[in-house]
Symmetry: C2
Amino acid sequence: MRHFDELLEQLRNKLLEMSGLVEFSIRESVKSLTERDSLKAKAVLKRESEINQLELDIDEIATTLLALEQPVATDLRFITVAGKINNNLERIGDLAVNIAERSESLLSHARFPVRADIVRLADLAESMVERSLDAFVRKDAEAARRVLVSDDAVDDLRDSIYNELISYMKKNPAAVQQCVDLIFAARSLERMADHSMNIAEGVLFMVEGIDVRHQVRVQVN
Amino acid sequence: MRHFDELLEQLRNKLLEMSGLVEFSIRESVKSLTERDSLKAKAVLKRESEINQLELDIDEIATTLLALEQPVATDLRFITVAGKINNNLERIGDLAVNIAERSESLLSHARFPVRADIVRLADLAESMVERSLDAFVRKDAEAARRVLVSDDAVDDLRDSIYNELISYMKKNPAAVQQCVDLIFAARSLERMADHSMNIAEGVLFMVEGIDVRHQVRVQVN
């Protein structure tokens, strides 16, 4: 096996490891919120440095691959997309930390029920991240496209969550802190969904060479 | 001039154009908020598609450069960092749009004064973005390092803004919507500052080959 191919394999494996860690963090952060579980919140905080270190390792392998030789078109697309997915995963890990911190804050105040729409948004965001990563692993453009169509559902849930919490706060000022915590948790879930769409767009670029970002043009390289 | 050098020059110029547009968007979004100016908010919304298009153009040039030949180490670092700065700038543009939208929402409700700490945070975030981009243009590692030390000031301002607005809402439920708008505006400013730090870290990597992200290791390539 050439050194280049070995590094490419390493890049793939590290990215799978990173995906696994980040998916774990999403699940545990959501459970810390919905099940009021401080141990799960702490598990997320503990994983953060591991995810950060993996991000650095993956970026280093990708840069080395680009420096090593002139990659052919498919390898080049894989390497650049892997780099972007890496950065998106690291951000998703940060967002899981944000959610875990909001769970801790909620646990330190009077009990306040998590709204049904937040649970729905959490399920959707979690599934979008998982499906975008599956699409990457299986180089499946159709699966990537199916992630992109969830955008409207995410926006609708976000709007309904914000509106409900803002109305609630107006009538129950004593619950302001808890409502703000949930607004931030919802915002983090929405951003996770955004990152899953970035990943899906990366998969489309990798598989079909089409840049669908910002949906303003379809460009074939 | 070789085709490679021409493209490198193009990458530099497009990135300068992108920087100019994004700095404009930050300034106008902050003014739309502090001066209650709907025209400035609309100016930011109008620029969004231009910034998005530039992001795609810059990514395409960077990818072409990587495919064209095996770049020497300094060029490779410049190209990969330019790609990352590009993505950070696009996100800063999005955040300016978020702030402009919050300004529009604030204009549609009873007048509510913007807190002094938000103006301070806005000044700080704006200056951090400008200084990180200056550091990039001048390849100035010291200037990049000075951006990174502003992190604590940003966190302190954010905490004091959140605490003040949450206390205010508890006593004045009629102002909940305006306080939530300002909390989101402050969050966007904080994220802009985060992106300026990503840019500064990119400059350090480009100039010195040191990866200072996550501050867990100092690695010399």
